[in-house]
């Protein structure tokens, strides 16, 4: 078992690199500790005295590179999140994150699907909107204006009732999240005129594997959202975090090019590849 996990992991990393370099992406390696971080309401970073925070994802630094004109980039990054420990979570884990300028959400989803096909041999993914998934699983319209649903309630339903219906036979991409769950994605309106986020997530066999955004490029809007996240943190008795001022300045000038980015858990991909029940079985490589 151990030898096969070690071998599969090495193979997977090599094929990820082939996939992106053959598509003219540049591999980058960004700092893992920095005084600044992107505050998120429900992610707690580790603080390193005198150095700042262990980065919960390479997003802040990769976006600064995009602003500086890097073109398409990818990074295989160690990420750190305090208190996250479970069958699918470890406080330290490995993520593959990529950005391609000029991709809209559709192109971003297509690239993700192509990635899964080439790297893991997966069949084509079904695409299901957030509203369709809720209707299918629990017969509820999450955007019904007559019965407004709280973010918290929707999140609980998604976790307890909807997720288990996603990606059963084929991989499934969930897209058009509620606008107030946009995180760092742009917002738009769907065919019904409902405000939605251009955010998507990939599920397969009960595992949430990847999160993608058609990236929000407006620094004013981004600052507002990060302040909202910090307010939420304070309300939840968690410390507010410093804003990523260097990134916000770079988004002002020279600006973040329109792009779509995806972050995908490599340990979880390994779990699916070898049929592991817990992330611990694949994370150490032994």
């Amino acid at each position: 078992m151990s030898e096969s996990i070690l071998g599969r992991r090495a193979e997977l990393l090599a094929s990820i690199r082939r996939f992106f370099t053959s598509r003219s992406f540049t591999e980058v390696s960004t700092p893992k500790v920095d005084k600044e971080i992107i505050p998120e309401a429900h992610i707690d970073p580790f603080e390193v005295p005198g150095l700042g925070y262990l980065q919960a994802s390479p997003e802040m630094h990769m976006k600064r590179l995009l602003c500086a004109g890097s073109g398409p980039i990818f990074e295989i990054a160690k990420c750190f999140r305090k208190g996250e420990r479970g069958k699918l979570h470890r406080p330290e884990f490995t993520m593959i994150e990529w950005y391609r300028p000029s991709d809209d959400m559709q192109k971003g989803m297509a690239l993700l699907e192509e990635f899964m096909h080439v790297v893991a041999g997966w069949p084509a993914a079904k695409r299901t909107s957030y509203a369709e998934a809720f209707d299918r699983a629990i017969g509820v319209d999450p955007f019904d204006t007559a019965t407004p649903r709280s973010h918290d309630w929707l999140n609980l339903q998604l976790a307890e009732k909807v997720e288990s219906t996603l990606g059963i036979d084929t991989p499934e991409i969930l897209y058009h999240y509620p606008a107030n769950q946009a995180a760092l994605a742009t917002t738009t309106t769907d065919a019904r005129g409902t405000p939605v986020a251009e955010r998507f997530e990939l599920y397969y066999r009960g595992i949430e594997l990847a999160n993608g955004y058609h990236e929000l490029a407006d620094p004013v809007e981004l600052r507002q959202r990060l302040e909202v996240a910090n307010h939420q943190r304070v309300a939840d008795n968690r410390p507010a975090l410093p804003l990523p001022e260097k990134l916000l300045a770079a988004m002002e000038d020279p600006r973040l090019p329109p792009c779509t980015g995806v972050a995908l858990g490599i340990d979880r991909l390994m779990m699916l590849a070898v049929g592991a029940e817990t992330i611990d079985q694949v994370a150490d490589g032994i």
Binding site: A41, H42, H89, N155, L158, A159, E208, N211
Partner: protein, 194 residues
């Protein structure tokens, strides 16, 4: 012991109380869908009824700690409506009802060291060792020539329990018995204390 536990303290083995009922956290799974709040999916065993319930808590919620302790206690004797045990370290005595002792009663022999559980210093459950050695009070004589070990017959133990044992077991033999299943394990010699 803290008086409450935060979700970040949640782990298997935690003893908590809900509405005055003690529970043991027998499973805890951390989940974090998308960009949302962390969820803590727990299986909680009701320590009074031995039933298991599923509960999901969101990050930041708290549960009240339960003053549940476990210690070694010796079975002393049976009395009209219950069973009396004594804490081996401070000699304090506890009486448990027939319902609390349940199926284990048939393997209780005076002097047997058991694990006793209390909630707010009231006894709530007792667990004997997994294996006990008991003498056969009565066994039908083995049928002549029948040496097959897979043939079983009922035998009566010194505590009154009736279990199935191989045909070659005789009255007066000492048997090792599994208290969880009530199954015969092997014939053995008398324990040292005898």
């Amino acid at each position: 012991m803290p008086s409450t536990y935060n979700t970040s303290d949640f782990r298997k083995g935690l003893k908590i109380q809900i509405d005055g009922v003690p529970y043991l956290m027998v499973e805890m799974n951390f989940r974090k869908p998308g960009k949302g709040t962390a969820l803590y999916e727990c299986k909680l065993k009701n320590l009074l009824r031995n039933t298991v319930v599923d509960r999901t808590y969101r990050a930041g919620q708290t549960l009240e700690a339960a003053d549940v302790t476990e210690f070694t206690a010796q079975y002393l004797y049976r009395q009209a409506d219950g069973y009396v045990f004594m804490n081996n370290s401070d000699y304090e005595q506890y009486e448990l009802s027939e319902e609390q002792v349940g199926e284990y009663a048939r393997f209780l022999k005076e002097g047997l060291d058991c694990q006793l559980m209390t909630f707010n210093n009231q006894p709530i459950a007792v667990t004997p060792p997994n294996h006990v050695i008991l003498q056969v009070e009565y066994a039908e004589p083995a049928a002549k020539g029948n040496t097959a070990t897979n043939v079983q017959k009922p035998v009566q133990l010194e505590t009154g329990a009736e279990i199935l044992a191989p045909a070659f077991i005789n009255t007066g033999d000492w048997l090792r018995v599994d208290t969880r299943t009530g199954e015969y394990i092997e014939r053995t010699t008398a324990p040292d204390s005898e």
